[in-house]
């Protein structure tokens, strides 16, 4: 790999809803922190999921340290605005902004890009000020992230003068530098997530100047059987095979008296389900690999059967990613 993923300064992690982008954000941040990088991980889509992956209380705008070198925060437009006003404008009215937030909401809705630029601006600011070595953003889902990353340019086009426009230059310098900023697209080996991933990768290239750093395929099932095992498995599923299996199991373990042909059939069906899922998923992974530029790293994270949440899952995903990127 020409450039190590975690040597960048700002990573936007995105993907279709439900593919595990928050888990991957948490794992990437955790991995970087373990290697001594001062790391901040920000949740943008404030569902409170990120805190669960560190088993910490819900996070707010003020970063909270959850392990050595690692801080977590939740980004809201309103608080980003507040901080921006405080830092950039030195407005003496901060105390009075409270009731304004709702009004500002409308302006932000009406004026395209304002909401987005506050989000992007905040994370880029942390990089510019060198507060952290790496900022990982658990960004919005696929469709919206393009608008977010393109916000500085959109503002540049729409707004001719003013303070916001003046801010867009340094943001673009950071965002458009592939050595500093990259997008990580998380997907799962299923049809819709793969299709959306390839569409998103295309849009990122066409509509933004932010580099694609990697694609992460999450929940990849292990290869169950080779050809020979599969033939043997099919033999096992005949009436004769099942009869022999039940007899052998009862013979080996005296406690397995409840095991009968129906139970054995169900167990083999479950394995068949695993084989089928795995095969369908392998096909989708092939589509994904073929649809991506050969230079784009494709990282695999295995399906975790035990738990989908918590610090343990984060550690397991981090370990899988560590193997993949050799970090």
């Amino acid at each position: 790999m020409a450039l190590d993923l975690l040597d960048r300064r700002l990573l936007f992690v995105t993907g279709k809803g439900g593919v595990g982008k928050t888990a991957v954000s948490a794992a990437l941040a955790s991995l970087a922190a373990e290697h001594g990088r001062r790391t901040l991980v920000c949740e943008v889509d404030a569902k409170g999921d990120l805190a669960r992956f560190f088993e910490t209380a819900p996070t707010g705008f003020a970063p909270r340290r959850v392990q050595p070198n690692l801080e977590v925060m939740t980004l809201t437009t309103e608080e980003s605005l507040r901080e921006y006003l405080k830092l950039q404008l030195r407005i003496p009215l901060i105390a009075k902004i409270g009731p304004l937030a709702r009004s500002f909401d409308f302006v932000a809705n009406a004026a395209p890009g304002v909401r987005e630029i506050l989000t992007v601006g905040k994370v880029a600011y942390e990089v510019r000020e060198d507060h952290y070595d790496l900022v990982v953003v658990d960004a919005t889902a696929s469709g919206h992230v393009v608008a977010q990353l393109g916000a500085p340019e959109a503002i540049n086009e729409l707004v001719k003068v003013g303070l916001v426009r003046d801010q867009t230059g340094w943001m673009q310098d950071i965002l458009h530098d592939p050595a500093r900023t990259g997008v990580v697209v998380v997907t799962t080996p299923e049809e819709m997530p793969v299709v959306e991933t390839l569409e998103l990768v295309e849009r990122l290239g066409a509509e933004t100047q932010v580099a694609l750093a990697a694609v992460v395929a999450n929940r990849v099932l292990p290869e169950l059987f080779g050809r020979r095992e599969e033939e043997r498995f099919e033999q096992l599923r005949t009436d004769e095979g099942i009869g022999a299996l039940v007899a052998a199991v009862r013979d080996v373990d005296g406690r397995s008296g409840h095991v009968d042909a129906a139970v054995a059939t169900a167990a083999l069906d479950a394995a068949e389900l695993a084989v089928t899922l795995r095969r369908a998923k392998a096909d989708h992974l092939t589509t994904l690999r073929e649809g991506l530029d050969a230079a784009t790293p494709l990282l695999f994270v295995p399906e975790l059967f035990a738990r989908a949440h918590g610090a343990r899952a984060t550690a397991q995903i981090a370990s899988a990613l560590s193997d993949e990127i050799g970090f």
């Binding site: 407005i91 009406a110 395209p112 003013g162 139970v263 479950a270």
Partner: protein, 388 residues
């Protein structure tokens, strides 16, 4: 709550509008398509499925790709290919946000000049084309338009993949709020004659400093134009809100049993209750087979995982076969155990969600992605009460 006997068939038979909702990636679009297809096949009448963003192959299968906002009838050939003769008609339409906004402007604009000025305004194009929130409103608006046309007996709507699953419920009210807001009055007050009150002063200070006054004026111009459509918009937004609350409308919450989507589904049910909206059913997708919960199965899996060699040697014909079989048996045991853990967790989630809804439908893990009418009907049959 609806009677559980007739299941989803009962929910569909009793309503004119069914809205599927849930977090992204749980199969909302497929569920909406499956329910509409089953209603058309089994119950008859004219049924429309209004989808927001279908997978391409499904869109192609339904003949939707080239039609945009047009409603198209699913051809007889597609039904024949699926091996079914429907009692009614199935129609499908895809939501084209931009075209729908344009239609709305044409409908409400007081005159041609205003209409053209709005359609050409760069801010308008930005808002309607790019911004997710605008999908929410327009989906509900389009639903209202289609429903009041009386063209269909049943409309099944797939909701947009919003950041927050409930955004679209509030979209009509938000739109009405916006048009009657003080902020809008401030925004569109001509800058020279602005009466700067104590209330509006901080707004101007912040807005000017952040956005620059030129941009503010651009925004103002846009909203002055837009305000000419005030009455039409507010009236429509109120009508759409009423329609969502109408007893002829029911919501179907779609989810998988994974922790994230389940939480979201549960949250969504809370929100429906809080708003006095009718929860018709919960549909659970990708449900694992019950056999995984059988303790005897786990017992078998344990023996296979721990004693695969012993078991294999008793079955195999020769040592070579025993090695292969041993690997197979260990994998069978391990994968049963792995999926049993997931199935246990999912059974808990399912119990928790089932307590909240009168009707719960479950669709098993399917071998293939749904890509045609036959696929939709396979999903639909899993949700339909067994006949005969």
């Amino acid at each position: 709550m609806a009677s559980t006997d007739a299941g989803l068939a009962g929910v569909l038979a009793a309503r004119e509008i069914v809205i599927t909702c849930g977090s992204g990636g749980v199969g909302k679009t497929t569920t909406a398509g499956a329910l509409a297809a089953m209603a058309a096949a089994e119950q008859g009448g004219r049924v429309l499925v209004l989808t927001i963003d279908p997978a391409r192959r499904l869109a192609t299968a339904l003949g939707l790709e080239a039609f945009g906002n047009q409603e198209v009838r699913i051809p007889d050939a597609a039904w024949a290919a699926a091996g079914t003769r429907p009692r009614g008609e199935l129609w499908a339409a895809m939501l084209d946000t931009k075209a729908s906004w344009d239609d709305l402007v044409r409908l409400h604009a007081p005159d041609d000049a205003t209409r053209d000025a709005i359609l050409d305004n760069p801010l308008y194009r930005n808002i309607t084309g790019k911004f997710v929130q605008s999908h929410d409103y327009i989906a509900m608006e389009r639903l209202h338009e289609i429903h009041s046309s009386g063209r269909y007996d049943l409309v099944v709507v797939d909701t947009p993949p919003t950041r927050n699953a409930i955004d679209f419920l509030e979209a009509p009210e938000r739109m009405a709020d916006f048009f009657s807001s003080r902020l809008l009055r401030w925004l569109i007050a001509p800058s020279r004659s602005r009466v700067v009150s104590a209330a509006s002063k901080p707004f101007y200070t912040v807005a000017d400093r952040i956005l620059g006054s030129q941009f503010l004026e651009d925004i103002a111009e846009f909203f002055i134009l837009f305000q000419s459509m005030y009455d039409g918009f507010v009236a429509r937004a109120e009508a759409v809100t009423r329609l969502l609350r109408d007893p002829r409308t029911a919501f179907v919450v779609v989810s998988t049993l994974e922790p994230g989507p389940s939480r979201e589904a549960s949250f969504f049910i809370d929100e429906l209750e809080a708003r006095d909206l009718l929860l018709g059913a919960v549909v659970l997708n990708k449900v694992l087979p019950n056999a995984l919960l059988d303790p005897a199965g786990s017992e078998l899996a344990r023996v296979l995982s721990t004693s695969s060699t012993d078991v294999a040697e008793r079955i195999a014909d020769d040592p070579d076969d025993a090695r292969t079989l041993g690997r197979v048996l260990r994998e069978v045991g391990d994968s049963f155990a792995n999926f049993a853990v997931v199935a246990q967790r999912e059974a808990e989630q399912r119990g928790a969600l089932a307590r909240r809804a009168g009707v719960v439908g479950a669709v098993p893990h399917l071998d293939e992605d749904v890509a045609d009418l036959g696929g939709l009907l396979r999903v639909g049959h899993a949700l339909w009460p067994a006949t005969g």
